[in-house]
Amino acid sequence: MANWEDCVHCGLCLSACPTYQVTGLEMESPRGRLVLLNQWREQPEAHDVETRGWLDDCLDCRACESVCPSNIPTGHLVEAWRSQEAPEARPPRSLIQVLELLLGSPRGLAWFRRMARWSQTRWGDWMVRQTARWLPPGARSVKAGLPALHSRGLSRRRLDSDGTGSDIFFFVGCVMDALYSETNEHAADLLRLAGHRLTIPQGQRCCGAVHRHSGSPETARHWAEANIALFEQSGAEVVAVDAAGCGAALKEYASLFPPDSPWQERAQHFQNAVQDVVQLLADSLPPLSRQDANPVTVHDPCHHVHAQGIAKETRSLLGRAGYAVTEMRESTLCCGSAGIYNLTHPDKSQALLTRKLAQIPDDATYVAAANPGCLMHMQSGLSAQSHKQVVHPVDLAWQAYRDAGLCATRSVTS
């Protein structure tokens, strides 16, 4: 893989970088960060708060990587710096431990969902408002962006496997499983409508992306091993995933393991099998024609467009489902959610959010965003001026096929 030394300083990455866009500082651009990484390595006196801050402000959004003509993996390099050389730049250990408990197992996830749901009850809402002063701003906005949660449980508990001969291992994720369980159910319905058979192993783990980005690769590796083993046992050919962030992480499983690890080949096999649900559905559902559909605009999550090159597919899925897509400017610019960036860097995250929301076309009712982080973050900014809604494209497509009588509504209580 190319390294910081291979940067030819052409500057073509500058305008793609969200942190450069909002700060205007060369140090907050990909090209500048490569200079900083070099300084960090060569000059111990560079190890100060400012330099660490400029590097750590990187969103890992990969926008620089998709435009760099020299294929410099700047986002990856900053991530590696965070985990190997700058333990101080990682989020506090306590936060990681909490996330590990909550996201790491179905039990933790069920708890997480219950807590989130409780925060939406009258009492919970009151409590949150009372304690708002003590909550970090990022946490308050997460609460504001939560989808309306019904009393159903994790999606994995509500989805049945199709038994032997299933071609798809359906990856339910963690946040998707807990907070967007309906979206997972809709994805499963549509995959079946497209002729697939699904298996949903109950023991599957979180993809590990957050831990990896925050400098705890051991946890990520541990969970990856569990997922790889389950996939091998399932006999499926494809791992289907409907969260951009998880998809990008799953497609990089091999890089979690050292080259000589016995897991290397298995991880390679696994990651080659991963496909986003949007990719799988883009051209395989029956086309609907509808006159009444509300106009939709698309936000391209970084981990779709920059990490996986998915953009066209979202539009063709929505088009097939009968929606008219009006494009928003800067659809590929990060919304500021970026994993847990909204918790760790509230100011920059808000600046990016404001910029993103300003680009939503007036005539769009829905903003389609195929990633839970983006959904929550963008919705949190919108809640006040409520007539617009941020929705997963799978949900939009599902509604269309339900209206056409091709998918059935499920009962709300499980």
């Binding site: 190319a2 030394e5 291979d6 940067c7 030819v8 300083h9 052409c10 500057g11 073509l12 990455c13 500058l14 305008s15 793609a16 450069y20 205007g24 500082l25 060369e26 140090m27 500048g32 200079v35 900083l36 300084q39 560079a46 100060d48 400012e50 330099t51 400029w54 998709s66 435009v67 760099c68 003509p69 020299s70 294929n71 410099i72 400017r329």
Partner: protein
């Protein structure tokens, strides 16, 4: 009296005045990697008034000023020395108004070139000069370098598209140059400042000419087994009276690099040259031109001819071409791109000569260029950690420029002189020409405070740009 740094902090807010050594290191280079220099400070003004204040403060402190847009200059134009302060325009990046009726866009200097055409597109307009760096480079940088681009073959360079500009002069006063009618009354001061590489004035607001998007446009790839035949085809096309919107050429090594980059087109591996040709205008004219061009290409033994079938395909072909410089990073640790211009008819011979110079100095050279107007971009590949190779690259580069002058061309088509081609200026211009240019500089900037050490070779003045490595 407080020091100049404190005055700057007071004027702009301390977060917009950078002095941290690592921050200054991030600003030590632009797109020209054979030199670097660390500025005394970097300031980020937010308005014309702030720029004026900064110029006044620094004039009183006898500090030099280097404006900077995106730092994509290929001649070291945005590199500063330790007595200079960089004025970075990244915060002045608004498109203020678009006059759809008169087709004029009023913009800040820090607006990215491509964003202007994006903003104009909904009204069926575009901004013609399109440097290959257009996704990042700024209009202020284009103003200073009089930048060109593939489509300048037909539409002309930056000079033809800036109608009016507000500038801050070295003495701290401001002036509005040019007018919205686009006709100079009296001396063409605007024309003098465009292309003066920030040595005479700093642009703080620009009024740009927008053009209607042509009703028809067709894009072709002509694949060749011989560079020579491709070059002859270029001359034949122009000789036949066709002016394509763009006519770009890449040779084998360049193709090899771009195909590994972010936008591979799928060129056959054994290809010697490719021409990217675009025709635009009224549909009937485009059709007629297309027939002429096809005839010429066939006569010149084109191996295959492809026409873009969709907007996506056209965009991909252009992205492939426009990222060619950067893609050199895939086949070499560093590259040095040159910008010589030659009369079109010597193209075949020129490529041959460049090839031989490369062999003599043991330097690999890829060629990417605006073939239509004879603007060559030889890319000299080198390893910056090999001092001997760095020395050879510089010599080979000089020799190529000397050749361009010898055949009646020039040392720079569009990238500017900067600090890169100071020595060659003395080859291109007679002493009295240089003297005349120097007196213009003297009249505008007697203290030599705007972009010192650039553009004009100054006898006896030593600037401490550090060669790299």
């Amino acid at each position: 009296m407080t020091g100049w740094l404190d005055q700057l902090r007071q004027a702009l807010g301390s977060e917009h005045v950078l002095t941290h050594p690592i921050a200054l290191t991030a600003y030590a280079q632009d797109g020209y990697t054979l030199a670097s220099g660390r500025p005394a400070a970097v300031v980020l003004p937010a308005s014309s008034a702030e720029v004026q204040t900064v110029v006044q403060i620094l004039a009183a402190a006898d500090k030099a000023i280097v404006p900077r847009g995106a730092g994509t200059s290929l001649s070291g134009g945005a590199i500063a020395d330790s007595n200079s302060v960089i004025l970075h325009f990244s915060r002045m990046n608004q498109i203020h108004a678009i006059d759809w009726h008169n087709r004029v866009a009023e913009v800040d200097p820090g607006v990215v070139n491509q964003d202007i055409s994006r903003a104009l597109a909904p009204g069926g307009l575009f901004y013609a000069p399109d440097p290959s760096s257009q996704q990042a480079c700024t209009i202020g940088g284009n103003f200073a370098e009089n930048s060109g681009g593939p489509h300048c073959l037909k539409y002309g360079v930056t000079l033809n598209h800036i109608l009016m500009a507000d500038v801050v002069l070295p003495d701290g006063t401001t002036a509005r140059l040019g007018n919205l009618a686009g006709e100079p009354d009296g001396p063409d001061w605007l024309g003098l400042l465009i292309g003066s590489e920030g040595t005479l004035g700093i642009a703080t607001r620009l009024w740009l000419r927008a053009l209607p998007i042509p009703p028809a446009s067709r894009t072709f790839l002509a694949l060749f087994d011989s560079v020579e035949e491709a070059s002859r085809a270029v001359s034949d096309i122009i000789a036949a009276g066709v002016i394509p919107a763009a006519m770009e050429m890449m040779d084998k090594l360049a193709i090899h690099a771009v195909e590994q980059g972010a936008y591979p087109v799928g060129y056959p591996e054994d290809l010697e040259a490719v021409l990217l040709i675009e025709l635009d205008g009224e549909p009937a004219v485009v059709d007629a031109d297309r027939r002429v061009v096809h005839g010429i290409l066939a006569a010149r033994q084109v191996r295959a001819l492809r026409e873009a079938e969709s907007l996506e395909e056209r965009t991909l072909w252009w992205a492939n071409r426009k990222t060619a410089f950067g893609a050199m990073g895939l086949i070499s640790p560093r590259y040095y791109v040159q910008d010589g211009v030659i009369p079109r008819h010597v193209l075949p011979e020129a490529l041959d000569t460049i090839g031989r110079i490369g062999e003599r100095f043991r330097i690999r050279i890829a060629n990417v260029f605006h073939a239509g107007d004879g603007n060559l971009h030889p890319l000299l590949l080198y390893n910056h950690q090999d001092p001997d190779e760095v020395a050879r690259v510089k010599e080979a580069g000089s020799e190529i420029l000397a050749y361009c002058i010898r055949v009646g061309g020039s040392i720079s088509g569009e990238h500017g002189i900067g600090i890169e081609k100071l020595q060659e200026m003395a080859w291109q211009f007679a002493p009295q020409d240089l003297l005349a240019q120097r007196s213009v500089k003297q009249a505008f900037d007697p203290g030599g405070r705007f972009n010192p050490g650039k553009l004009l070779p100054t006898p006896g003045r030593c600037i401490d740009f550090r060669p790299v490595p």
